[in-house]
């Protein structure tokens, strides 16, 4: 299958496809914005401001004074906590993205079954699913930049001075964003490929569960039946049966 065919087949066609695309793109945008914020906070200078007041007074970072940022962002001991909190916020967002990958799965499985019947191999189906999710995640990564600007407006401009969470975006934010966009796309594509790799859609639409041959099934039923006898009558009774049969054979032939 040519890449152009994969991209055509990955294009959202139904309402549920479009909903899935929007959910994946939206959640990836939020995750990217949070990640950009965490990385920006990580780059802030710490504890380099002038000492205010007399001896014994705590250090007041100049960034707090000059840029109106919250004090805990620039204190050596507190900043890692803030960064980890921002990263932790991405976890439920990414979990939501994984759930969004499953939106409309019944209709999509039916569509994939039609593709399989038309001649798509399991690998083709995984490629289409990866292109579908990868495209949405890539769009989410691209939207991550504007989402970060929005986050900056909400957390870095609107709050009063001294309580702001984000500093003015800089060139390094732009570079980080440029790196994040393809990573988001690849992550989305890989997640979809893994999810679809586990459940290969059959041409008839239903998973072909491995069936036990009839002979094996009967042997298993016989075994279960014998186990049932042991459970119901107790092992002594069953052994007694065998002993009785041996005695019968010896005595009566």
């Amino acid at each position: 299958m040519k890449p152009s065919t994969a991209l055509r087949l990955a294009r959202p066609g139904s309402t549920s496809d479009r909903r899935r695309f929007l959910l994946i793109a939206g959640s990836m945008a939020v995750a990217s914005a949070l990640l950009l914020a965490a990385l920006h906070i990580l780059r802030l200078p710490t504890d380099i401001g002038p000492r205010l007041g007399g001896i014994g007074e705590p250090l007041l970072p100049y960034s707090v004074e000059g840029r109106g940022l919250a004090r805990y962002l620039t204190e050596n001991d507190l900043r890692p906590g803030v960064v980890i909190a921002a990263l932790l916020l991405t976890v439920p967002v990414l979990a939501f993205t994984v759930q969004a990958l499953r939106v409309g799965s019944v209709a999509r499985d039916r569509r994939m079954a039609s593709l399989r019947l038309a001649g798509a191999t399991p690998r083709d189906v995984r490629t289409v699913a990866a292109a579908d999710a990868g495209g949405a995640a890539l769009a989410g990564g691209l939207l991550g930049g504007p989402a970060y600007l929005l986050l900056w407006l909400l957390a870095g401009v609107l709050p009063p001075a001294g309580t702001r969470m984000l500093d003015t975006p800089d060139a390094l934010d732009l570079a980080t964003w440029a790196v994040l966009v393809p990573i988001a796309g690849i992550a989305g594509a890989l997640a979809a490929a893994v999810i679809h790799g586990r459940a290969v859609v059959e041409p008839l639409g239903d998973p072909q569960l491995p069936q036990r041959p009839v002979v094996l099934q009967r042997r298993r039923e016989h075994f279960v039946d014998e186990q049932g006898k042991v459970a119901v009558r107790g092992p002594q009774d069953v052994v007694g049966d065998v002993e009785r049969r041996i005695v019968d054979c010896v005595i009566f032939g």
């Binding site: 139904s14 593709l115 019947l117 038309a118 001649g119 191999t121 083709d124």
Partner: protein, 230 residues
Amino acid sequence: MTDHPAEPVLEMTAVEHAYRRTVALNGVSLTVEPGEVVAVTGPSGCGKSTLLHAAAGIVRPHGGSVALLGHDLAALDEAARTRLRRSRVGIVLQFGQLVPDLSVLENVALPLLLDGHDRAAAYTAAEAWLDRAGLDADRDTPPAELSGGQGQRVAVARALVTGPAVIFADEPTGSMDTIGGEHLLELLLGAATNRGAAVVLVTHDNVVAAHADREVRLRDGRVEAEAVLR
């Protein structure tokens, strides 16, 4: 590879298959020669569809062997079986099973596109088959806007577009009226006969079965009777 191999296009030997405790096929053997039209008939639940799915490599039988176009299907993995199907086998099921968000033209061209053909060439071939199926005016229509009969004709065009050596059709006229069904069979069997392709036709309808060269009647997962019709 040739389109019309001298050896049988399909050789099924003592094929067995079960769904949990229900035995669908119980030692079925069937041979189909190139260009032959075989109707598989029998009452509901006798294993007709399972036979067709096993023959096309869609279902892996639990016992026996299936050789399709000289390939032992048990020796092929899923991807290889799929590639064999899309390049040399046509499949028509009762409800078309078209891809809902693709246009009629894209649906017909799909096997060629999946096989790596050039888009322009695939579309040209698809347009030719749509023309033969009388659907050239509906090329951009989504399948949801087609009638049942039109959908089946699209499915037949899709099955024929790759120039298959064998076509498997499972109740292709099952959802159609008598006249529509006749037209569909004319299209399917006419194209197959012109190409020398074999057709395995699963049906419970004696009128449809009468179009075949040979009838194989199943009952309870076994071949009950065989009859040469022409």
